[in-house]
């Protein structure tokens, strides 16, 4: 190799995988969100992508790269609940090297049931993502009043999607 530059290009080559939910996905190393502790229920799954579909812009899918069968629907809790501003436990800041509100964003896990018009969102255990390092952890707000299954009318998600498209 005669190039004087470090071989950074090799780590940014697109990787192709086939996911049962999304079909063919192409991604680069820099797009991987690393969960060093996995997630409760999926503690061995450490590498994830955050994906959206144009048809469902309010859903952010966490697609596991370690087990392609696993994809978890989430949403931005701030968009659905304007006043949601939880105090993060100290282990969140320590684990993810977070020092200010501009260091992180939150995603909340959605449980979508086929039949009902409603879905629920987990406001008690947000996923905290450091937007500089792209490391993440789900944190439990154990002593808060937030519920694991907070109802979200499905209509609200569609309206939020419509307004964000304007």
């Amino acid at each position: 190799m005669m190039s004087a530059e470090p071989d950074a290009s090799a780590t940014d080559l697109p990787i192709e995988v086939e996911s049962p939910r999304f079909g063919a996905i192409s991604y680069t190393q820099s797009e991987i969100i690393r969960f060093p502790w996995g997630l409760p229920g999926f503690t061995s799954l450490r590498n994830w992508l955050a994906l959206t579909l144009e048809s469902q812009p309010s859903y952010i899918w966490l697609q596991s790269l370690d087990d392609l069968k696993v994809a978890i629907p989430t949403a931005n809790p701030y968009h659905l609940f304007e006043d949601y501003d939880p105090k993060l436990p100290s282990y969140a800041a320590a684990a993810l090297d977070i020092h200010s509100p501009s260091d992180f964003t939150l995603l909340s896990v959605l449980v979508v049931t086929a039949a009902a018009a409603e879905m629920t969102i987990n406001l008690m255990a947000p996923i905290v993502i450091n937007v500089h390092t792209w490391r993440a952890r789900q944190v439990l707000l154990e002593n808060s009043a937030y519920s694991v299954r907070t109802p979200v009318p499905r209509k609200a998600v569609q309206e939020e999607a419509a307004s964000s498209a304007i």
Binding site: P40, L51, T52, L53, Q56, A94, V112, L140
Partner: protein, 90 residues
């Protein structure tokens, strides 16, 4: 599971950094003190298990595929940004 008997004020070391102390014992309730590094989460088991169940339910309802419209176009990377508190509302 390792089972140890402790009396009031006795403690247990887990690894090098976590200590559990029996603070008080009152009939059917034990008060435990936990000393752990700041980055170690400590939660009541039933809360942790509830989150486990919710995550697993969320993932399995997704894989059934029947709850959301069929996937049309391919997925794109989601835009994740910190909350901007001073952003004016539309």
């Amino acid at each position: 599971m390792l089972v140890l008997s402790r009396k009031m004020n006795q403690s247990i070391m887990i690894g090098d950094n976590v200590r559990i102390v029996v603070v008080s014992v009152d009939r059917d309730q034990v008060k435990l003190g936990i000393e752990a590094p700041r980055e170690v989460p400590v939660h009541r088991s039933e809360i942790y298990e509830e989150i486990q169940r919710a995550n697993r339910t969320a993932a399995s309802s997704a894989s059934s595929g029947s709850s959301t419209p069929p996937v049309a176009g391919g997925p794109t990377r989601a835009k994740l940004e910190p909350r901007k508190k001073d952003t004016p509302r539309p």
